[in-house]
């Protein structure tokens, strides 16, 4: 399995492969994502291909958020499908992650943060 990544400006956009992010594949996905997280910087997870995320997948996402923040980076997640949003709302994780509707909104929100940091 390979990750599709795009680099726009300083941000890396990672399209998480679908349709599931669960106990069955979370270890595999983590191995692919870890090197990107280790670089720090700003990362956007595009979730549009994911139709299901379970507690293991959620734990993996939280781990990425925590490590990226530790390295001084930032994480946005965008394009959540309805079932994935249901999970986030069920365990109130929509309050923990910065969730954007799409990539453009995620990039704009990171720009604003950068501007604020420069100012």
């Amino acid at each position: 399995m390979q990750l599709i990544t795009d680099t726009i400006g300083l941000s890396t956009i990672v399209t998480l492969p679908g349709p599931n992010l669960d106990a069955g594949n979370i270890d595999e996905i983590k191995l692919l994502v870890d090197p990107i997280i280790a670089k720090g910087g700003t990362v956007i997870f595009d979730m549009s291909e994911l139709e299901f995320v379970d507690s293991s997948g959620l734990g993996g996402l939280l781990s990425c958020l925590r490590r990226l923040t530790h390295f001084g980076g930032e994480l946005r997640i965008c394009a959540l499908t309805k079932p994935v949003r249901v999970l986030f709302e069920l365990v109130r994780m929509h309050r923990v992650f910065e969730i954007c509707n799409d990539r453009a909104e995620a990039l704009r929100s990171l720009d604003k943060t950068d501007t604020a940091k420069v100012a």
Binding site: D54, L87, L90
Partner: protein
């Protein structure tokens, strides 16, 4: 004002003529006059009688007037003492005054008017002193009496407090006893074990125990009987009568069954029980309202005998409602009455609310919760399932009437789910990569629900299966996991079975902190389904998930 009648005057002089002269002087006064020429006799008189005033000559053979009066002062301190002397000597006068022995010092010859005046004044003084003394004695006596009364009062208050305390303990005992009777004898046991029916129970005891009771019994292949009743009155007596009524109904059912070999009709059971209980209830000046219902799940019908009891609120799956009510009298009001049944058809998805009047009579000030509010709640929330409706009714009634209920609040919601349909049964390896297949199978059973509920089902089955793989099989992927599932109307049941190490996900667990990356599984399970149950039977461990699908689309239950 002098009450001279009470005044006794003793005149002491060694000269008889002086005594006579004084007698004459006082003859017209209302004094009792005693005379003596002998000072010893004077002291003797004093010892025997109350004397107000002693008038003594100063010069007498053997003893002086001052000496005599000094002895008088010792013997009778309240007696006023007057010296009458023919030889005024300063020394004698000073001696008399210094020894405190005399009230007045008078000279012979005396002026009649002066002497009368002095005696009157002395009599007044004496009387005032006596009055003062009497008042003092009276005051002391009354103080003593008050003190005694106060002590008595305190003792009585203490006794009252003790009695009240004992009474409170007795009341507490009675309430506890009543509660025990209610829990062990009056309230239904194992009420949630009928496949095609879901129950929701509200059973809130009043401050003082009342006699509400309910029971599910007479289970057959076709269905079951439900009885819910309310005994007039409160306290342990009402609770015992409730227990007696319930036992009589069970006994009547069995007697009739044994006698005829046929399952007796609800009307026959109630009529039989009424014959047995009616007169006893009347003698006890009590009566019982009840509702006896027979659910025939094969025929899809319910037969009801209501005896002076509130109607049953029925909500059909379509959302329409109706009331089931008979016009039989309560048990104990009339003897020999034949009870009549009411019949209704039920279809899967129908919800029936049986209750005692403690529910509708719950008051805020003078306003009762009422039947209208109950019907509205059943109509509006009946689709949410029996348990949810019962919980909501309890909340609404307590919000209306407060926590301190005046009467028992008893309600049994019966939701007819109908026969199970859409069974799934598959066995998979304990490999997380198989989770997708489990989800796919589970979601087939709720394809008519909305995406939120479908996702909840997928999440729940995934988390339950993952827990089994992790905890029961310790991550080994070569074991087996079985998923069984079915639908009864809106209620979806999923069972995940394994033969690994049993674990209990219901045990208390530490709160997950916002920083933690794990521990979501059980939280997701709790939020995604209505009920999670862990059981073991013959080495097979089962995690059972139950969810009421509120968003179920147009698909009819039947």
């Amino acid at each position: 004002m002098i009450d001279s009648a009470a005044i006794r005057i003793l005149l002491v002089d060694d000269e008889e003529c002086v005594l006579r002269s004084l007698r004459r002087l006082l003859w017209q006064e209302d004094y009792e006059v005693l005379t003596t020429t002998d000072p010893d006799e004077a002291l003797q008189i004093l010892a025997e009688q109350d004397v107000a005033i002693v008038v003594s000559d100063q010069r007498m053979p053997g003893v002086s007037g001052v000496d005599l009066l000094t002895q008088v002062a010792e013997a009778s301190p309240e007696t006023l003492r007057i010296i009458l002397t023919g030889s005024p000597e300063l020394e004698t006068a000073l001696d008399a005054v210094n020894r405190g022995a005399v009230y007045r010092y008078l000279l012979k010859p005396w002026s009649d008017a002066d002497l009368r005046g002095v005696l009157r004044e002395a009599a007044e003084t004496y009387q005032l002193r006596r009055k003062h003394q009497e008042l003092q004695v009276l005051t002391l006596t009354q103080v003593d009496q008050l003190r005694s009364l106060n002590t008595n009062l305190e003792e009585k208050l203490e006794a009252l407090r003790r009695a009240e305390s004992q009474l409170a303990v007795s009341r507490e005992k009675e309430i506890r006893l009543g509660r025990q009777i209610q829990e062990s004898l009056l309230l239904g046991q194992g009420i949630d074990e009928i496949d095609e029916v879901a129950f929701g129970i509200v059973s809130e005891g009043a401050q003082c125990i009342a006699g509400d009771f309910y029971e599910i019994f007479a289970r057959t292949d076709r269905g079951f009987d439900l009885v819910l009743g309310d005994v007039m009155g409160k306290g342990v007596g009402a609770a015992l009568l409730g227990a007696a009524t319930k036992i009589q109904l069970l006994s009547s059912y069995n007697d009739l069954l044994t006698a005829s070999g046929q399952i007796p009709s609800p009307a026959d059971v109630v009529t039989h029980a009424s014959c047995r209980l009616g007169e006893k209830l009347a003698k006890l000046d009590s009566f019982v309202t009840l509702c006896y219902a027979r659910f025939d799940l094969v025929a899809g019908s319910v037969s009801v005998v209501t005896c002076g009891h509130p109607p049953i609120v029925v909500r059909h799956e379509s959302g329409e409602h109706c009331l089931l009510q008979g016009d039989n009298m309560p048990l104990g009001v009339m003897t020999g009455e034949a009870f009549v049944e009411t019949h209704a058809q039920i279809t899967p998805g129908d919800v029936m609310c049986f209750y005692s009047d403690g529910l509708t009579d719950a008051r805020r000030d003078h306003e009762m919760f009422g039947e209208r509010r109950l019907i509205d709640a059943v109509q509006m929330h009946g689709g949410a399932g029996a348990g949810a409706l019962a919980g909501l009714l309890r909340e609404q009634v307590i919000a209306h009437g407060g926590e301190r209920l005046a009467d028992d609040l008893t309600c049994v919601v019966v939701e007819y789910l109908g026969p199970a349909s859409g069974h799934i049964d598959l066995e998979l390896e304990s490999d997380p990569k198989k989770l997708g297949r489990l989800r796919g199978a589970a979601v087939e059973l709720c394809a008519d629900a909305d995406i939120v509920e479908r996702t909840h089902v997928e999440l729940a089955v995934t988390e339950a299966a993952t827990n089994i793989m992790r905890h029961a099989y310790a991550g080994r992927r070569d074991h087996l996991l079985r998923l069984r599932g079915w639908r009864r109307c809106q209620v979806l049941t999923l069972e995940l079975q394994h033969r690994g190490v049993p674990f209990d996900g219901t045990r208390p667990r530490p709160a997950r902190s916002p920083e933690s990356e794990g521990g979501f599984g059980l939280e997701i399970l709790d939020g995604a389904v209505d009920h999670v149950e862990y059981t073991t039977d013959r080495q097979i461990h089962t995690v059972r998930l139950t969810k009421h699908l509120n968003s179920k689309g147009d698909r009819k239950c039947n």
